[in-house]
Each structure stands twice: as C-alpha cells, then as structure tokens.
Amino acid sequence: MKTLLKPPQLVYLTTRVHGLSRHLIKPDDMKLIRDSRDLNEAIEKIPKSEYGEIIELTTFDAAILERIFLERMVERFYFIVNATSRDVQKFFKAYSSRFEMENVKRILRAIHRGKLLEEENLIPLMKEFTLVNFSALMAAKDLKEVVGLLRETDYGHLTDDFKLYEKFGTTSILEASLDKHYYERLLEIAQKIPNKTLVNDIIGFEIDLKNLMTILSLKMRGLEQEQIQNRIVERFHKVLEFRIEALMEALPEDFAHTLKSSYYAKFAEEMQTTLGSGSWKEGERIFSAKLHDEASEIAARNPYTLGYVLYYLIRCENEAKDLIAVVVSKQIKQL
C-alpha cells in the first residue's frame, strides 16, 4: 500500500517555508509602498524586521537600497539551500545559481565591449556558495581569458561555445548557452528529488515563458530565425516545438495568432496588445505575473511539496524586483 506520509525532511522544509512566507511583504502592503508620495515615505513602509539594514542608513540612495534588497533575496535563497540536504540541497543550490550566472553574464557583456564593471554592479553573493572568482574575471583583458578562468567551474561549457561567439561577435550566444546549461542541469537534478513533476512543471513554465519573451523581443528587433534559434532554450513544456518554430518564422504581429488555441493563448494575446502600445515594462510585468500565477496555482494545490518551496523562492525574487522598482522610480522622480 502506498504511504501518504512524506519524508520528515520535506515536512520540515515545507513547514519552515510556510512560516517564512509570512515574512514576505503582502500584496496590500506592497501596494501601500508603491503608492507612497516619495522615497522617504516608501522606505518608512518597508518592514524593518526583514530589511533592518535600512535603519543604519543616514541618507537614502536607491542604488544602496537595491543592494540591500538583493542581499536579502540571496540570503533567503541560501537559507533554503542550508535547510535542505543531499539531492534537494543540490537542486536548490543549482536553482540559486541563477544569480551567479547573471553575474557571469554581466562580466561577459562588459569585457566584450572592453568596459569596466565594478563589484557593486554584481548581485551580492555569499562566498561559500560560489566557486567563481569574480574579481579575477572582472580583471581579465578579454573574453578568451574569462572563458579560460571559468574552465574548471560549472561554466566550463563556454569553452565549446567560444567559437560560435567568435563567429557571430555577440555575447548573446554565450548568454543563451549559459541559460541552456542552467535549465538542463536543473531539470537533470530535479529527476532525483521528491515532487519532481511539480518542480518540472514550474521550471517548464519558466522556460516556456522565457522562450516566448525571447522570440517576441528578438522578432521585434528584426532578427532572423537562425539568430533567434541560437538564443532559445530547447526545452518545451506546454508549448509544442512546432509552435516555437512557427513563432520564429511568423511576423511579430502574428504572435498571438500563432499561439491561438495553445496553453499560452491568453498570455500571448495580452502580450501582443501591451507591446502593440509600446510598453515593454508592462510586458515584463505580465511575464512575471504569469509565472507567479502558474507557480501559485501549483503551490495552492500542493502546499506541502517542493513546488511550494519553489513558489516561495519565486515570490522572494518578485519581492526584491518590486522593491527595487519602487525605490528606483521614486528616486528618479525626485531628481
């Protein structure tokens, strides 16, 4: 007889995450922060129990606040990593490596153009969770050196993609390769953990939405099918491969039509209407909201699974993004 009991580690983790979720800013409170008149008022409304570093600040600068929010977000991710063990820990470690990967991308972009990037322009990571020596990467004189320095890390695959970079002369190729390997590794580890179907579902949604956004934005930039092909993650969840191919061939204005009767029909329609009015910011919001909604639905149906933990991490990331958006736009408006 199949047992309904869950492993104790999973029960412990999900119970902790339910508790941790209560520390996140509620939608109504976030609305209050967003509706503040200025930066000072917005900061007053941010809960200091979670963002205590704000109290120490004498003057408010959005760049410093952004760093505080990012640090908190990364801490929350690593808390989950520390609260788990074995394959589940491996999975969350791999999932959290998205920030390390983002830093590697930032360095690749800067070195490619021969520009200087400072440490504060990277996402603050805890030293024990990264094997990458960012200072050495930033000091590299060219991309070949960067790729060489990354050879012994999880980003060793960049050595193979370097020829493609040399052929096309754009770092987008390397960035796409980083994304592909990130998701492939994540899905590979996900096969060994409990609730893998739910976890696969959430990651699958993320890949699908990311691919759709990539295709749409590159189509609107007027890029050819071959160039788009190189930049998508070749994993398909709810959107079938033939539709992705059709999307790459279709005109940007046929985006919604091509996805008609698919799982993402409503999303595509909403995106097309929004982007038609020229608002990519709103497009990004729809993208985040869609991913949140999909994960939220899974989490609501399965509150004591790793799906819920993943949903919590998505919320952590969204909270940091929302807070950054609020403080940055409040500061810009004050200028």
Binding site: A62, A63, E66, R67, L70, K105, R106, R109, A110, H112, R113, K115, L117, E120, N121, L122, I123, T170, T171, S172, E175, M213, L216, S217, M220, R221, L223, G278, S279, W280, K281, G283, E284, K321, I324, A325, V326, V328, S329, I332, K333
Partner: protein, 198 residues
C-alpha cells in the same frame, strides 16, 4: 587737413571702395538674414524633440525600474560607445561647427527588451539632438555675424561714408578756392604786366 589733388583722389578712391564694401556688406546681411530664417524654421522642430526626449526619459525610467541600477549599468556595458565627428565648415565666411554621428552604438547585445526599447529610442533622440544642437550653434554664429555685419553697415552708412563725403566736399571747396585765387592772381599779374608794357 591738407587739401590737394592727390588727397582728393585718394579720398575719392576710399569713398568708392567704401560704397562698394557697403553694397557687398548689405548683400551679405541679406544672405545672412535669409540663412537665419531658414535656421529658425529648423529650430521649430525643437518642440517635437523635447517631446521625444520626455518619451525617452520615461522609457529609460521604465528600464531602470525593471532592471535596477546594477542591471542598467550591466545593460549599458553591453553597448559600445557612440562616435561623433566634429568638423568645421565655412558658410559665407562664418566658421560653423558641424557634428555628425560617425558610428552608431550597436544595440544588439542588450539583453533585456525594456532596456533595448529605451536604448533604441534614446539613440534616435540623440541623433535629433545633434541636428538641433547644430542648428542652435549655427544660429548663434550666424546671429553674431549678422550683428557684426549690421554694425559695419551702420558704421559705413552713418559715419564713415558721410564723413568721407564731407571731407571730399571740403577738399574740393578748398581746391576750388585755391583755383579761383590762382586765377585771380594770374589775372592780376597779367594786368600788371600789360600795364608795365604800355
């Protein structure tokens, strides 16, 4: 002032030269005025550019709020620098500075759609800004030149030429007087000589 034929000749030559200069300066002034009115038509586009800049500003603000400061810095490092060529050209003797975009920044590496949208709009706004700033610099230079030309025309028309005309009149009068005096002197000498002979 010494009055002799040489001076009169020189004064007349000067007058002729000044009148020709005045004519040329007046023509130049008319040309500058027509150039200025063309430039003023161009500057009317400034309102549209200001509107365009406000739109760009809101898009850049969007990009900042989506990516944050560090994300925007990273997006900015993915774009190479805009290269501008600065030349000087001469229009009717007025030295003007001309800006032209030698190399547009390549935006294809920008990773995020919001930042890309802001960057494309910003690039085209900068192009327009270059055009309008060129027109503004030209207006400044042409108006400066117009003022100088006007002052020269006024100086020639109201001061130099009239004073030269009066000098010529004076010298001519003086010479006429001297001629008359000479004529009378000659006449008297002739009479004295006739009387001595008889």
């Amino acid at each position: 002032m010494a009055a002799n034929r040489g001076i009169l000749l020189r004064l007349k030559e000067q007058l002729e030269f000044m009148q020709k200069s005045l004519e040329i300066l007046k023509m130049r002034r008319d040309q500058l005025v027509s150039e200025m009115s063309k430039l003023l038509d161009e500057i009317k586009k400034r309102k549209n550019i200001e509107k365009q800049l406000m739109d760009v500003y809101s898009k850049v603000e969007d990009a900042y709020s989506v990516l944050g400061y560090s994300g925007m810095v990273s997006a900015a490092t993915s774009v190479d620098n805009l290269r501008v060529e600065v030349n000087t050209i001469s229009v009717m003797g007025v030295v003007l500075t001309e800006f032209s975009i030698e190399q547009k920044p390549k935006l294809t590496n920008i990773p995020n759609a919001v930042a890309y949208d802001a960057a494309t709009r910003l690039t085209s706004a900068i192009e327009e800004l270059f055009k309008i700033s060129k027109v503004e610099t030209w207006i400044e230079a042409v108006s400066q030149e117009l003022m100088t030309t006007n002052r020269k025309v006024n100086a020639l028309e109201k001061a130099l030429i009239p004073s030269l005309i009066s000098s010529i009149a004076y010298v001519e009068g003086k010479l006429e007087e001297e001629e008359l005096e000479e004529f009378f002197r000659a006449k008297r000498i002739r009479n004295i000589l006739r009387r001595t002979k008889s």
